[in-house]
């Protein structure tokens, strides 16, 4: 692929002029190492700037060469340059060329800004590449998820696999500013929108839009982390750039047609759930409630069905009336009513697990590629059909890709890349903490009765049509109280979404002079996204329907000039360009108000009250010019200068222009003479850079406007917005510097890359929280100074390599610290987010970003928890509880191949960082979690009543005064004078109190995870050649194979992202983690 790109560029240098007396130079190019014919090598007559790439058989031919003596040069990436003097004095001259590979192939090519391929050694900043094959080791289809752990300094906050097609977030180098922005995604030069959408009502997550990128089409991904690397992409690159290059065909005479077919079948299963207790049933007390059945006059044991907690009677087999025994109609659809039925009260340990399905997905991919002397093409089609572990959830993604290039003549090339993706989702699961009834998983982990038999809930409509629920108000009133049957929500409240996405570009290139080319490009990224959400009639929630249509269009017009020249020992490679970016977004959202006029008639016209209808439009233009030049000296020293100026329509007119620059350099130590004499350090490069990148704002934040409120009856309303717009804003500039070294030992068998960076962001444009008493809640200001500093290491080794065996190991590790040096004047603290139930995230002056503040345990000077005389931990409000971001992150990969077998394993780890688990908190509060049962320090069940020395039942008693048969949870600490104390506190009271101690529900986010395992078998070549198959492999891969270490049970710290917003420091109502097993087939013809 990279060869192909070079050919394109070099193909521009051909000239078509003719002279009177001419001859032809021709010959064959071979690989010196193998003796094989070498295709695609650029063979050039330097003086004439005339060249030809070698064809499939390694042949080249340069015609119409005027008689004379010339320098013939053949170059290919990863091979030493070949150069010889040729004298043309006859009709035909033959020069055969043999290219030697450079040792360890160190002249790797990296795709940098604007698709410019650059030799890695010339780059003065850290860029890390991941090949497309490495991304798709296992079947993770979201590019963000697939990058997890594979690039140093990249932290991915994933989502549960149950959230099919859901959003993953990415952090490059910690957080890069107060607002924790996301990097820019660029595919083949086209910026790709990566917005995430969720439904407003119940947190359904419709995915981050970069997830549309089909990973099977990806050739490679370059992660540009620092400003020097990304600055040329302009203001949106201030959080880095994920640069994606897709596959194309190959240029050359008689390129073979290559057909690639991939098929995989994936099974998803829930693999991580909170540990539940299976000893006590639903209720608020351990007593059965006696109820007289009005039909037979008998008294029965009942549970408190209205309770959605599990502090109820022991599940010891006592006979009782389950919830469904109070419905007159047949509840489970077996033909007979369950009315009056009694059963023994026993546990159902797998009831939650039984709710989930095995998810199944089929992914079929076909690509056809090829090329000729003047044209290349590649088309691909992919279809993925998936059903999730959440019942009734489905996702269907179809994508088409086309990549075609034409060499019109010696001067003209053009290239088209088109991608179309259609995504259809149905039943995407609700997420997050919701006060309403919609989220089944929230119910299981927070508000549930442990004894429930999931199968009795499946048939959520009794035979007489009434909706059934376990959570009935009482034995005689079977209307649901807080919760409908979870299956009702899943099967009747079905959202649907559909997105048509198109992105691609058209490029024309023209070779003005042999070393001067012009390229004009049009890039487009367009989507139309329709989301419908429904709440069915008859459930607890008011029925409703909403539909949101969103359209986005971003067009970039770009023109660039590339010039290369040499002067003695210096080489110059320059690029200048201009870009016009147009962003056009509009949406129309509407929802019914006050219910549906006709049951289950899902249409806006069914709105009982005036529906909410909202149209929104957002336009922004950015105009830019930029230039870069790389100066090289003898392949030893390179210097790179770049500069860019942007004009943004969103900034105030007199401040809408901003300029920034970058300087970087590299020094290839190993090219020096004295280094050539040793063979330990085979390659060494030092690099350094200093650069800036500017950032501006979204539109319409300059002028004061007013808001239109909801109507009061037929009267419209207006209000003064809560945010002060600011007509004095200016662009924010962040600047950074970095140093690094790229060292390779023992012919490249050991590879080490080190990088240090320091980035400062000043005058960031933020929506600053101000005291509401000013009349506003926020003010948009330039404020703050923010530093991120960090260190990244990549280590690779090929410790064992023989004919049959190959072992490859790679590891990466990164640490970063983000510090808030300064906030706005007079402000030392800024609230970033408030999680449910009062856990706060702050940016505070002089501290690490992401301070977590919440009520915590009050401690004495020695760190002992203070316990009040009522047996409760004393609470310190607004306690500082540490920081959000991890200490370090990384990944480790081991690939072992033996003959035709290849085993890949990929581990990912994170040390430190914290998250707040609402699931765990409610698991305890509601008596559902395993922690709420067991024996206390006296050896008695901790849920037994707390008894004082007289045997009287109390809420809490000092341990010393407790009866020997007392229950209760041990609460230990010191009193206000520092003397050790211990109490037994009644379990339900204790966990209700712990609900208020948020510190208890903060967990260390460290984990080690065997993220991916992949076993592949390549079918033997001799077998395949008989059936004219070029390559064939079969394999099995596992994603989320094993959570090896985590400080918290039942929640996966690597997948806490729920919904699409926020700073990813809490989970709640989160979907369970899933494990995927895929069976893969890959055929090439």
């Amino acid at each position: 692929m990279k060869k192909f790109y070079y050919l394109f560029v070099l193909g521009l240098f051909f000239s078509a002029s003719a002279f009177a007396q001419t001859g032809t130079i021709s010959g064959t190019v071979i690989d010196d190492a193998t003796g094989d014919a070498f295709t695609g090598v650029s063979v050039v007559l330097v003086e004439l700037q005339k060249g030809d790439p070698s064809d499939i058989d390694g042949n080249y031919e340069l015609t119409n060469i005027p008689y004379g003596t010339y320098t013939l040069r053949a170059t290919f990436v990863g091979y030493e340059n070949f150069e010889t003097q040729v004298t043309v004095n006859s009709a035909s001259t033959t020069v055969n060329i043999s290219l030697k590979p450079t040792v360890g192939a160190f002249d790797e090519v990296i795709v940098t800004a604007f698709g410019l391929s650059r030799e890695e050694k010339s780059i003065g900043y850290a860029v890390q590449d991941v090949s497309g094959d490495d991304l798709t080791l296992a079947n993770e289809s979201n590019i963000v998820g697939a990058l997890a752990g594979k690039v140093s300094g990249v932290q991915v906050i994933g989502t549960s696999g149950a959230n099919i097609g859901g959003s993953s977030k990415i952090r490059l180098r910690g957080t890069n500013g107060l607002s924790d922005g996301q990097p820019l995604f660029v595919v083949d030069g086209t910026p790709i929108n990566n917005r995430s959408f969720s439904s407003s009502t119940r947190g359904r997550d419709f995915g981050n839009l970069a997830g549309d990128i089909n990973l099977d089409d990806v050739e490679s991904v370059s992660v540009l982390k620092g400003a020097a690397a990304s600055a040329l992409y302009g203001n949106r690159a201030s959080n880095g750039v994920i640069l994606i290059t897709t596959k194309g065909g190959s240029l050359g005479e008689n390129q073979p047609l290559e057909v690639n077919f991939k098929s995989s079948t994936t099974f998803d299963n829930v693999y991580i759930l909170p540990e539940y207790q299976d000893e006590y049933a639903g209720g608020y007390t351990q007593n059965f409630i006696p109820v007289v059945d009005p039909v037979d006059g008998q008294t029965y044991n009942t549970l408190n069905y209205a309770a959605d907690e599990s502090w109820g009677p022991k599940m010891d087999g006592t006979t009782y009336r389950p919830w469904y025994s109070w419905y007159q109609a047949d509840v489970d659809g077996d033909g007979t009513s369950e009315y009056g039925k009694t059963i023994p009260l026993r546990s159902n340990p797998d009831n939650v697990r039984n709710f989930f399905d095995t998810g199944l997905s089929f992914d079929n991919y076909l690509s056809i590629s090829g090329g000729s002397r003047n044209a290349t093409y590649r088309v691909s089609i992919d279809n993925k059909q998936q059903t999730g572990v959440m019942p009734n959830s489905e996702l269907d993604v179809t994508s088409l890709g086309f990549n075609g290039g034409l060499r019109h003549n010696d001067k003209f090339i053009s290239n088209v890349r088109l991608n179309y993706i259609n995504t259809k989702g149905s039943g995407r699961p609700p997420q997050g903490y919701s006060p309403t009834q919609g989220n089944a998983v929230q119910s299981f982990n927070q508000w549930f009765q442990r004894q429930l038999d999931m199968d009795m809930l499946r048939n959520y409509r009794a035979t007489d049509g009434t909706l059934t629920s376990w959570n009935i108000r009482s034995a005689t009133d079977t209307r649901p109280l807080y919760w409908d049957s979870p299956f009702f929500s899943i099967y009747e409240n079905v959202p649907e979404d559909s997105r048509d996405r198109f992105y691609g570009n058209y490029t024309i290139g023209y070779n003005i002079l042999s070393n001067l080319t012009v390229e004009a490009k049009v890039h487009a990224d367009i989507y139309d996204f329709v989301v419908e959400d429904r709440i069915a009639t008859g459930g607890l929630e008011q029925d409703s329907y909403s539909i949101a249509k969103r359209s986005n269009k971003e067009i970039n017009y770009e023109i660039g000039v590339n010039h290369q020249t040499e002067f003695e020992d210096f080489t110059f490679n320059s690029f200048a360009g201009a870009n016009l970016r147009q962003e056009r977004y509009n949406s129309l959202t509407s929802s019914t108000v006050g219910g549906l006029s006709t049951a289950n008639y899902f249409n806006i016209s069914a709105s009982v009250d005036r529906p909410n209808v909202n149209s929104f439009k957002s336009d922004k233009d950015v105009r830019s010019i930029y230039g870069t030049t790389t100066i090289g000296w003898r392949d030893i020293v390179y210097a790179d200068l770049s500069v860019r100026n942007d004009w943004s329509s969103a900034l105030p007119e007199d401040e809408n222009s901003y300029l920034y620059y970058g300087i970087s350099g590299s020094f290839v130590l190993s090219e020096l003479q004295f280094m050539q004499s040793q063979n330990i350090l085979s390659f060494a490069k030092l690099r350094a850079s200093v650069a800036q990148v500017g950032d501006d704002i979204g539109p319409y934040q300059i002028q004061q406007t007013y808001g239109s409120g909801g109507n009061y009856g037929s009267s419209p309303t207006q209000f003064v917005p809560n945010s002060i717009n600011n007509s004095n804003l200016k662009a924010a500039i962040s600047s950074d510097y970095e140093f690094g070294a790229d060292l390779r030992f023992l012919d490249g068998n050991v590879r080490l890359d080190l990088n240090y960076y320091n980035s400062v962001r000043e005058d960031e444009i933020i929506s600053l929280t101000v005291p509401g008493s000013s009349g506003y809640n926020t003010a948009i200001v330039n404020a703050g100074e923010f530093t991120t500093e960090g260190f990244e290491v990549q280590l690779g080794a090929t410790p064992y390599s023989t004919r049959d065996w190959n072992v490859d190991l790679t590891a990466n590790w990164a640490t970063s610290t983000s510090t808030v040096n300064k906030l706005a004047d007079g402000l030392t603290s800024r609230q970033l987010e408030r999680a449910f139930f009062g856990v706060f995230l702050f940016a505070r002056e002089g501290e690490e970003w992401g301070a977590i503040v919440a009520p915590g345990f009050e401690t004495d000077d020695n760190g002992n928890r203070i316990v009040n005389p009522n047996g409760a931990y004393s609470i310190e409000n607004n306690k500082d509880l540490g920081y959000l971001l991890p200490d370090y992150t990384g990944g480790f990969r081991a690939d072992v191949s033996f003959k035709n077998f290849n085993l890949g394993t990929f581990f990912e780890f994170q040390k430190g960082g914290q998250f707040y688990s609402i699931t765990k908190m409610f698991n305890a509060y509601s008596g559902l979690g395993i922690g709420t049962v067991g024996d206390n320090t006296l050896g008695n069940p901790l849920r037994d009543p707390v008894l004082d020395s007289n045997g009287a039942e109390v809420t809490s008693v000092a341990l010393a005064n407790a009866a020997s048969n007392s229950g209760g949870v041990l609460v230990e600490g010191v009193d206000s004078n520092g003397n050790p104390v211990a109490y037994l506190t009644e379990a339900q009271t204790h966990y209700a109190r712990m609900f208020g101690v948020k510190e208890n529900w903060l967990y260390d986010a460290s984990y080690v995870k065997l993220r991916e395992v992949n076993l592949n078998y390549n079918l033997p070549q001799d077998l395949l050649s008989k059936v004219s198959i070029k390559r064939a492999s079969v394999g099995v891969s596992v994603y989320n194979a094993l959570l090896i270490y985590s400080s918290v049970d039942g929640v996966d710290p690597s997948a806490i992202q729920n919904g699409t917003t926020g700073f990813s420091f809490w989970e709640g109502g989160g979907l369970p983690g899933t494990r995927s097993v895929s069976f893969n087939l890959n055929l090439s013809f």
Binding site: G283, H408, G594, F616, T705, P716, Q718, V720, S773
Partner: protein, 495 residues
């Protein structure tokens, strides 16, 4: 001239033209025209629409739950943390950035000579100023009675002052009274205000409203500044107070429905408190049959509500335990509650009632500010029974007024008025809470399982936590002047 190739010359020309044009577009100008003019929000404002919006916030004063819990009108059923005073910090930011700022904008636009002529579609400038000022005082009074010292004189100045200082409550009270007087004075006899969902632009009724509010404020400082209280109270009464109940008009539409109706749509979190139910049952107070629905287990099903069918929920216990929904009474449809098909979506809630005016005047008389206390006291009971539509049974009303625990006793006026006002103010929780704090009656027992440190019923709200971050200097000064920022610090008028 660079393009020497003959082939494709035309298309090259076109392309070079395109490229040239593009270059010109990019480099030629930094002028983006109107592209950054917000199409989603209007750049101008109509004061009548601002007023409508400002008046809808009354619902959040009269329909709130917190006060109804503190004075034990209502008991939470299962999740009782609020009843047990778990929350100490309450947020006032939204009141300022929301309704107070909207009203300030009406005031500014009508005051500025440049804009005043443009906003006459909202009514005459004087009348708009009057209503906007009255309503600002209404909301400020509500705010200062919850938090005490609050930003006032320096508030609502936007960028000019992002960190407003707090004013003492005595100064706020003095200014509120002055502003009410000025507001009435500024009424210019011109076109009444438009967008008025309370009085339909009837300026006479706004005058009564202003005087009634002034009367309420004056009475509130009866113990902190008795002299001014008496003067202003009497002046307000002579200027003319309301003669019919002022109700907040909810609509039969989801966006503007009664909040008690909303609360019972899908949940049953709030029951009638046994504190209220037991007191009223013991006095045979028929208003309870409207305040509460029968407990299903006690309902004899004859379609009329009897006192004996009502069972209150114990207040402030840690959770419902085995108390089922079937055994307790929920609020009645008269305040909107009861859920779909049972509740009344557009049930109005009281802002000012004739009963309150009468009890205020009874108290004034008892304090020796003039008038006959017993007359006003009995008139208050009559007005309240009438307000709730239970005055049809004249014998019950007469018997009630004659009950020794009810009949006016000059030696015990504080307790009697305290109890009667408490019942009459139902369900205006915040107003009842203020009057309980001031009078010390009814005698309420704090939640048995409190979550606050003192275990006492709160007497103020703590400031929003954001103030310690965003406005620390002024916050610290306020706390130093007022006392610890917690629920137990008494306000200026409640010493």
């Amino acid at each position: 001239m660079i393009f020497r190739t003959r082939k494709n010359k035309l298309s090259i020309m076109k392309k070079s033209l395109f490229i040239g044009l593009l270059t010109f577009l990019i480099i030629g100008c930094s002028d983006f025209g109107d592209i950054n003019v917000d199409p989603n929000n209007p750049s101008t404002v109509k004061t009548d629409l601002l007023l409508t919006n400002s008046l809808t916030s009354i619902s959040a004063v009269v329909g709130a739950t917190t006060g109804t819990l503190y004075v034990q009108y209502i008991s939470e059923t299962q999740y009782t943390e609020s009843s047990r005073y778990q929350t100490s910090s309450f947020d006032f930011n939204g009141w300022y950035s929301g309704v107070l700022q909207d009203l300030q904008t009406i005031i500014d636009l009508n005051t500025n000579p440049e804009t005043a002529p443009d906003v006459l579609s909202g009514g005459s400038n004087g009348n708009q100023l009057a209503v906007a000022n009255i309503m600002q005082v209404y909301y400020y009074h509500f705010i200062t009675d919850r938090w005490g010292r609050v930003p006032y004189s320096e508030a609502l100045k936007g960028n000019e002052n992002l960190t407003p200082a707090y004013d003492g409550q005595d100064a706020i009270y003095a200014d509120m009274i002055q502003r009410l007087k000025d507001a009435v004075a500024s009424m210019d006899g011109g076109t009444g205000v438009r967008g008025d969902i309370i009085f339909g632009g009837d300026m006479d009724r706004w005058e009564d409203f202003a005087n009634t509010l002034r009367m309420r404020i004056a009475l509130r400082m009866s113990e902190a500044n008795a002299g001014t209280a008496q003067t202003e109270f009497n002046a307000a009464v002579s200027a003319g107070v309301i003669t019919s109940d002022v109700m907040y008009p909810y609509l039969a539409e989801a966006a503007n429905e009664n909040p008690w109706y909303s609360r019972f749509q899908t949940r049953t979190d709030y029951a009638i408190s046994s504190t209220l139910a037991d007191t009223m049952q013991s006095l045979n107070d028929m208003r309870l049959t409207v305040f509460a629905n029968p407990a299903p287990d006690l309902d004899n099903g004859d379609g009329t509500v009897e006192l004996s069918e009502i069972n209150g929920m114990p207040y402030g216990i840690s959770n419902a335990g085995d108390i089922t929904n079937a055994s307790i009474s929920f609020p009645g449809s008269a305040i909107g509650a009861g859920g779909p098909s049972v509740g009344q979506q557009d049930a109005p809630l009281p802002i000012f009632t004739v009963a309150e005016v009468n009890f205020a005047r009874a108290e004034a008389a008892a304090r020796g500010w003039g008038g006959t206390a017993a007359t006003f006291y009995n008139a208050g009971i009559d007005a309240s029974w009438a307000q709730w539509g239970v005055d049809g049974d004249a014998a019950a009303l007469t018997a009630y007024k004659a009950d020794p625990a009810v009949a006016y006793d000059a030696n015990n006026w504080r307790e009697q008025i305290g109890y009667q006002k408490w019942i009459a103010l139902f369900p205006q929780g915040y107003e009842a809470w203020s009057e309980w704090r001031r009078l010390g009656f009814p005698a309420l027992t704090p939640a048995p399982d409190p979550l606050n440190n003192s275990g006492l019923i709160p007497v103020r709200h703590a400031y929003p936590t954001s103030e310690t971050d965003l406005n620390k200097e002024n916050y610290d000064a306020a706390v130093a002047a007022q006392g610890a920022d917690e629920l137990d610090t008494n306000l200026w008028w409640d010493q």
